[in-house]
């Protein structure tokens, strides 16, 4: 599900924003559980692992 970062608008009715809100709550949990312990677990918020994607290449010594 995509993440909608600009909803709901003041003019939106719930019938329009329902799917977007649903998608956002699902996306938030999916995002958060990467490297983190899930919201309702006893160690919620802590890190299961710290995965670091490659940043700039540093030349060797």
């Amino acid at each position: 599900m995509p993440y909608f970062n600009n909803i709901p608008q003041a003019t939106d009715r719930l019938s329009k924003s329902q799917y977007q809100l649903l998608a956002n709550f699902a996306s938030i949990q999916h995002y958060f559980t990467v490297n983190h312990i899930d919201f309702d677990a006893s160690n919620k918020g802590k890190h299961s692992v710290l995965t670091m994607p490659l940043q700039e290449l540093i030349r060797c010594y």
Partner: protein, 197 residues
């Protein structure tokens, strides 16, 4: 209340979903505030520190990433929680906070290099080869040995000679001799520094 990723449903009214949405936002903030600078602060999203919960297995790493994790290990002689670093593509998971800090000790660097030392290790005899335990995954890359006068009688002027005969995955074989004038045997000891992987 638990976080509910399945709201709002299409048949729910605002009155139905207000409470669970409120709960979701509260749960999100509660969990995010752990290990992270909270919303709306200058450093929001950054980590004041990182708590790594113990894992049972080494993490999987893809190409172009590396992972830091906490594992239970008895490498230090007692069961302890240690940090491990794994390079990309499921490379060796190096536990790098375990070690031995005694006179016979060791440490492993995140790169995988193993450094071991033995202080005043007593060799079996004079003019002979002696095998020193050195357990490493692949074996020593560098070994240095020098004299350690443990308990000489008289002045420390003995002529200590030693060199490495051989080393492999599990052991370093040292030839050594120590001479105090006519004494050709006793108190034969050395210090060893070895670097391996």
């Amino acid at each position: 209340m638990t976080y509910n990723p399945n709201i709002p449903q299409g048949n729910q009214s605002g009155a139905d979903t207000q409470a669970p949405m409120l709960n979701n936002f509260a749960s999100l903030k509660t969990a995010t505030d752990i290990n992270h600078v909270t919303f709306d602060l200058a450093d929001q999203g950054k980590h004041p520190f990182v708590s790594l919960h113990i894992q049972q297995d080494a993490p999987t790493t893809l190409v172009g990433e590396m992972a830091l994790s906490a594992l239970v290990s008895n490498l230090s002689g007692v069961q302890n929680t240690e940090l491990a670093l794994r390079h990309q593509s499921n490379a060796t998971n190096n536990i790098f906070t375990a070690g031995g800090t005694g006179f016979f000790g060791w440490t492993r660097l995140p790169s995988g290099l193993l450094i071991k030392w033995m202080n005043e290790v007593v060799f079996a005899g004079s003019d002979t080869g002696d095998t020193i335990d050195f357990v490493a995954a692949t074996g020593p890359r560098f070994v240095e040995i020098y004299a350690a006068f443990v308990s000489p009688s008289g002045t420390n002027t003995g002529n200590f000679t030693s060199y490495i005969l051989n080393y492999n995955i599990n052991a370093i074989t040292v030839w050594s001799t120590l001479r105090y004038g006519a004494d050709t045997g006793s108190n034969n000891a050395g210090n060893i520094l070895a670097i391996g992987i």
